[in-house]
Symmetry: C2
Subunit: 312 residues, 2 copies
């Protein structure tokens, strides 16, 4: 009946930072390449940080992936598959990454992995965590929001209920993905590059404080939780027949109400949102989601109570 004032967790010793999980998202690729040339700025006294390039072959070709999306490949199905001649490059790669930084779910796995992404959507400096139940990442997000004040850092909780984790950082014991935009694929913008660099520096400072025994009290925090996806309208032949409506474009994380316009057909008609409740769209008009016909991700905004945290 006597609960401790905060949850206790072991200090972190091995941290990885991945750029280029998608080979055409350039902020993280150029950052990881820079750190591989000059790792000094990643150094902290209480833990080691290892930068690496997620998908070298996709980076070389400057494409999202070669065979299949690497960041959907870290499931039991793929990680436990046996080698086969015709398997996609990313399945082989995922098993290798799992050997190096995991194995996923094991005691040997890295303590933490950052994964660096860009989007063509106007998502600003978005922090992606699997769910609000991930205590250390939620404390890290809170710390970033308090100390990185150049822009708001919305928190995006990506795991649908009952879904298995599938992202590259699920290989480590805990993780955080950064999703900075808008930035076109294949392009590096100096402003987003420095934002990403500063957020990683801030997150490493948090780990240092945690390792050194700082007590992080409980807090309340706002976060967006994914509830589903909105597909593009299509012609009978499968081609998309409408664009994201100009009034929705660039409005990531802002409320979308029932009967608000969401699409404009190529002939000029408006299509309205037919849901019954207000949602908060994200990944609006993301280039990489056309192949899945996804126009945006639907989210709800919630307040979460996060318990306190300190090291063991």
């Amino acid at each position: 009946l006597c609960s401790s004032p905060s949850n206790r967790s072991r200090p972190l010793s091995c941290v990885a930072v991945c750029g280029g999980t998608h080979g055409n998202e350039m902020s993280g690729i150029y950052l990881a390449k820079h750190w591989l040339r000059d790792p000094m700025e990643l150094q902290r006294s209480s833990f080691a940080v290892t930068p690496f390039l997620g998908n070298p072959r996709a980076i070389e070709k400057c494409v999202r992936y070669v065979g299949q999306d690497l960041n959907r490949t870290f499931t039991t199905e793929f990680l436990s598959s046996t080698e086969a001649e015709d398997e996609p490059y990313e399945v082989v790669l995922a098993r290798e990454i799992n050997q190096t930084y995991g194995p996923k779910g094991s005691a040997q796995a890295f303590d933490f992995m950052f994964d660096l992404h860009n989007t063509t959507a106007s998502m600003g400096t978005c922090l992606i965590v699997d769910s609000e139940e991930s205590l250390l990442p939620m404390h890290m997000c809170h710390y970033i929001q308090m100390h990185y004040t150049r822009s708001p850092c919305p928190i995006y909780l990506y795991k649908l209920p009952g879904e298995e984790t599938y992202s590259i950082n699920s290989v480590a014991k805990a993780g955080l993905a950064l999703e900075l935009g808008p930035q076109p694929q294949q392009v590096v913008r100096a402003d987003l590059f420095s934002q990403m660099r500063d957020i990683i520096a801030c997150a490493l400072d948090f780990i240092e404080l945690f390792n050194k025994g700082t007590v992080f009290p409980a807090f309340e925090i706002e976060a967006y939780k994914i509830t589903g996806r909105m597909d593009y309208p299509c012609y009978p032949d499968g081609e998309i027949s409408a664009m994201v409506h100009p009034k929705l474009q660039d409005k990531d994380f802002l409320p979308l109400n029932p009967r608000d316009p969401i699409f404009q057909t190529f002939s000029g008609e408006e299509i309205l949102y037919e849901g019954n409740t207000t949602i908060y769209p994200a990944f609006i008009n993301e280039a990489a989601y056309y192949e899945k016909k996804v126009a945006f991700v639907k989210m709800e905004k919630h307040m979460f109570s996060i318990p306190g945290l300190q090291r063991d």
Copy 2:
């Protein structure tokens, strides 16, 4: 010794509009596909308009090109080459397009070709003409600037002195390319889509007026003329070592003065512009130019006197 008040030129009867010369520049691709489904809005009484898709295989894969840049392939060298087994797809395609809409330089060629492009640079609604000596396109640009007032339409003269024309619209007797941005590759934004559609409608109205005998008087006009290109700084291994400076990013067509910053290295140092005169950069941080290591195109701003024009 008695010059006529304006140059006379034959009316136009065959006009083509090309989308998807680059397979990942979506405004023109979706416009051309829309017009192929429903060509009504292209109809005018005095001439015929044919929409077409420039590079179908690149559009299918949503990439700029498959083998080589189609929009650099309309030179004598490629158009007069004989079929070979290992030649790039775009060389075969260029000969086919030249047969359909040309032959380049011949009396049978189409009278006019529009070519629809997007850029990741902040070039707004840019009008690209080969040179100020192209009388009818310069009058068309002037007409667009007077009648399409939603945004400024800078004129970009792309041909370097002594250079052969190489673009897809050089197959027709005259041409105009639209270059709308910023828009990420693989993405269609409703605002740019409607701008492109409106500019084409305006340009077709101009042709209609010209064909029907409207006299277009002489005028003075400002235009930007290419003088060269600025490469990215590189490491000895050929990788770029710097980004476009945040103060230059998104500043297309604005003056860049000697000693203004142009690059920021990944380590954080500034690199300044070392030229002796003010220039006007364009295509700043264009995604497709990284493979050529081109950071921006250098331009000069000039006033040109354009003689009057009327139909024969």
